[in-house]
Symmetry: C2
Subunit: 392 residues, 2 copies
Amino acid sequence: MTKINKLTKDILSAIRESIGTDPQPLHAPSFSLTEINYLSECIESTYVSSVGSFVGKFERMLADYTGAKYAIATVNGTAALHVALKIVGVSKNDEVLIPALTFIATANAVSYCNAIPHFVEAESESMGIDVKKLRSYLHNISEIKNGECINRITNRRIKAIVPMHTFGHPSNLDDLLKLCDEFQIVLVEDAAESLGSLYKDRHTGTFGAVGTLSFNGNKILTTGGGGAILTNSLELATQARHLTTTGKLPHKWEFNHDVVGFNYRMPNLNAALGCAQMEKITNFIELKRDLFCRYNESFSNIKGVALIREPKECRSNYWLQTLVLDQEYAHLRDEILRETNNVGLMTRPAWSILSNSIPYAGSPKMDLVFTKTLASRIINIPSSPNLMSASI
Amino acid sequence: MTKINKLTKDILSAIRESIGTDPQPLHAPSFSLTEINYLSECIESTYVSSVGSFVGKFERMLADYTGAKYAIATVNGTAALHVALKIVGVSKNDEVLIPALTFIATANAVSYCNAIPHFVEAESESMGIDVKKLRSYLHNISEIKNGECINRITNRRIKAIVPMHTFGHPSNLDDLLKLCDEFQIVLVEDAAESLGSLYKDRHTGTFGAVGTLSFNGNKILTTGGGGAILTNSLELATQARHLTTTGKLPHKWEFNHDVVGFNYRMPNLNAALGCAQMEKITNFIELKRDLFCRYNESFSNIKGVALIREPKECRSNYWLQTLVLDQEYAHLRDEILRETNNVGLMTRPAWSILSNSIPYAGSPKMDLVFTKTLASRIINIPSSPNLMSASI
């Protein structure tokens, strides 16, 4: 029998103390009869596809909840980010600053625009972009020419920056906005993980020119597959709506298109699920915040690991509860993952750093020394909202 | 009051004689309790997203039904075609031969590969590609160099051809296969409209290296939004599955990706709908073929218009019933569209020819003289399967 380290045992015990010993997925959605009723209503209407009342209703609910003027529902978060980058003008051979520590979809959306991701460093509080280090880096490598930020090394335009609010915790948006202003870069927020998360009382995804959400199966709210584009600009909203609906010009029967558009509209069936889920979002977030408190209690006395809490002046949705091992215990990560998963308590590490991935190994990057150490120490632990309702 | 032409009146009467006077959409899906039951089952399983039993079940049903060895379900038909083109090797600056008379998604999928659509002429029987004219055209403009077809005018490789089986009627696949062999071009079938249509007893979409299906709301079978890739090649199926699931390499918890992939997997929720619909596909096709017979009777004595029937040696799904006006009555098209839509009988014209569209006006094309006259004379009339069950 392999010897198991004390920290591993302590972590396993703390998880069990918080949520019990039953097997648990990383994040399961919570459904009730409402979901089935809305889906039935959708089927009975016969409108299951891109036309139908639930899509508009879901968009209005998202706009109301986030405070964005406009919300445009899409097939998924990747599609939302692709179109978001398009409408802010990201073009072929542009560079887009993105965290090295994010899901590969953030980088892929940049690639779909024939643009190049440029990887930036993380900081410890939000696990998002380290704005201070980035500013100093941009001062070194870029210059403003004709109102555009040019990378002096690659000679390419740096058009946009895409912070991602990691596991639901808001990045430092005030500093990001200042940086964008200083370097003439467009802010597009990847809020895929942060529906319900606030930065200084304002919803993430509404600070940039555009923000994007995801409603994949493991997100805080799910539509099966789905995403949304948020913006306060009528012009950008109109463009987003046009591009996500194949670029078809309105006409009673003629088919005319003025751009190469996308088949990215969320189907009414998926929006029906979304409407049912949106009715519960406040409750989901309360449960997840309660779960954080529960874990926080259990982990408070364990040396060698920290439970991530919301950054200052932020209210996080605590989408995924996150442990960060102290550097000296980083080598235990795989043992902890193995032992927890072996007993059916699903945990997982952070994403592999994108600058090390095969498709993006050649992309430009700043010094990622902290990202590398951080990524090697992160463990997400079971985070479903129903863990609290079940265990109370 | 505007004077209405006799042919317009005759067409309106014939439609009413066939399907009654109630308002009718162009194509409404048919649902029953099965759809609601499967959706409920999906919700109860909590697997609504890209993991879940319905996706695999739907793929097996599609493979069994079409006779393709592999079926890979996607978010929609456009996504399916995009990936189909990728896996057969369509690359930047390649040309792909496609009909000028098709929905813009066919051309867009080519654009997403950074390739260029090259528009080809239609013939009258199937409304698909005129292979004879195309052969003669390719003899004029292309040459084979190192086993590849090169357009001598643009100096670009012509990598693939994408016939589309218009309104469900199979293109001449034998002739297309011969042409592909002669010119070293890959055949990719856009079978978005032809689920259930056979060419010489074999299912459309299974003749090319890859074929693609669509399950949009107005298609013969719907999943809300959805599509599928069909292939007999294990290698292509593996690539398609990999590319449609973000290119993630299998691992219990690590996130590693070896390509720029796509978030194109059909959600389990949509697949649940698909499974219910697939159980009825044989019945849908019978009803639609019966509807053709009904229309055929009503239109048989009307001079100036023809109801399109399946090409020789084909069995069509008759997805959309199609009228083609004689050339001398082409000018009546808009009047007929207006008068039918005004009384709630939804009709629509063919797509505008893609070579005239803003995004593709500069694309290469052969002489499209017949496509132009054909496109200006097409009218699709109400085609829902339940028109027969309701009116019998």
